[in-house]
Symmetry: C2
Subunit: 333 residues, 2 copies
Amino acid sequence: MATMSDIAREAGVSLSTVSYALSGKRTISESTRERINAAITRLSYHPHAGARALASQRAGAIGLAVPLAEDVDAHVVMMFVRSLMRAAHDASSEILLIAGEDHEATERVLAEGRVDALVVMDVVEDDPRIPVLAEATRPVVLLGYPSDARGIPRVDFDFEEASILAVTELHRRGARRLVMIGSPAATQSRHATYADRATRGFRTACSRLGLSARHVVHDHEVDPTRELIHSVLAQDRPDALIIHNESALPAIHRALTAEGVEMPGDLQVVAIAPRETTLLGAVEYTAVQIPVEEIGQTAVAVATDLIEGRDGPRDQLIAPALIARDTTHPVHG
Amino acid sequence: MATMSDIAREAGVSLSTVSYALSGKRTISESTRERINAAITRLSYHPHAGARALASQRAGAIGLAVPLAEDVDAHVVMMFVRSLMRAAHDASSEILLIAGEDHEATERVLAEGRVDALVVMDVVEDDPRIPVLAEATRPVVLLGYPSDARGIPRVDFDFEEASILAVTELHRRGARRLVMIGSPAATQSRHATYADRATRGFRTACSRLGLSARHVVHDHEVDPTRELIHSVLAQDRPDALIIHNESALPAIHRALTAEGVEMPGDLQVVAIAPRETTLLGAVEYTAVQIPVEEIGQTAVAVATDLIEGRDGPRDQLIAPALIARDTTHPVHG
DNA sequence: ATGAAAGCGCTAACAG
DNA sequence: CTGTTAGCGCTTTCAT
């Protein structure tokens, strides 16, 4: 393996010149740069990541604590991983994976300087990791919005406003008896912040508007969706449904179809979910779209600012927008 | 941040003694070890990963090239990621993620010594990465079985034998007209080795046994599964179905149910898929189970052997086994 | 059973 | 615009 001194000798310059040529932190004459680049190509040189990390105190990697629990939709997790990889790539960093459940490893990668920052997915209210990570010597960013983050920056989609928006827009479209199908039971009882906040928004908005509100927990793996939908429809004849559960969307769509429900005629439906998951067969659901790509980019941007010592915005709640498609009425107004 | 010399001073020993105490590469007296450990706790010392990597020429990480394409089932990918994380953890390594599509980054992490080895998922026949990775200075393990790997060790489930087993066992159970529903079109046209090998096994076994064989490509995102199943059943009245397509399993199950197909009475079905994906509603499909955990462990074991300079087994095809459940007849023998 | 010291391959002052 | 040099925090010979 060629080292930087090999390049220096080969190009007839000093070690530091090569270093500066690579980092661009000082102006190098055209001719020297060319000789250096030639040498680099000739010897197929690649800087050693460890050496660079030691000397620069930068690992060039961002840690990502991913949820491995079964109740978290794998497809959605992968969407986040993708978006974070892209963002990290643009910041010329790599992504080091950590099992979200492995708190010990999570702290370790930070303490060992293996990563320059840590992004934590699937944060829960009173997350046991928060007090520990708040003391970390390197930046941490929560992908989630617990009420007390002990000063750790939080980045998330505003699930509370998302529910409020869904309710409000359904109300504007004539809905009066709303049902929300929320996250799986396991997610709810863990108090994942996105589940808690979405539920709260739903309750708040309904009571504010004086609407009948029913919140149903749906466990995709267990519940026979068909029966759930049947009973939901039988009781109180709801005229609108809000679905915040990506895994259950396809099954719910089929159940609704099987029940002969006309959308939006019999029932208006709004999904709170990433765009990719709201296209089911021929129907595109009206949705408050979760902007996964933007969330990922924002998280990495916050992390990068902190790594660089810049102090940009910390807490960031990304505002929701409703995209009206096939399953809601137009607003008559 | 405390360094090793801090610990040495605090414990009243030399730097190297601390190092050896940590690595266990030399015997340390009980009393010194205790003082060292006390100092480590007191100063909450953590070895610096970069420094260690530089001095030891070991990154303490394994790279994982994950497929990000839409046609690869996210749930299955996450299962592999999980199993590799567990295996890496047991080998005290971390997992560095690389986008499988980013060939440049894939080579770079190896060349920069950022990882000690690389595991490549979703390998295709004539994979453009193979010639390059074959020249790498660090171990590479393919999670896939291309016919020419240029000497790179391959680890995979034996999809060819899996299909053969499925056919043979269906034949033993009286099936004569078989249909196989394979991977999505995109996967097939990329020639993912698991798709190619499964298809080949199916064809081989059917012709060997003189069975009617039909191979259907199923594109979950596009095909109306209902119609596909309807036409499959209408044509030639198959008496057995082999499904090698995790994403499509739920939809196929519903379509079969909707068609009023009795399993195994009207149709015997064998899935080639991980166990977690073959439980659909009340029905547990007879399956040639893909042992994700074992595949992951094996891949990391091969990588670890290579890193350590041991030469263990390289190419490894994991043998299939059929687990008879609800969708096949018993063997009348 | 323990120390002393020479690197590992880079970055970033400091010096011109 | 370029060179010299002192570390970064570990691992690992040599010595004793």
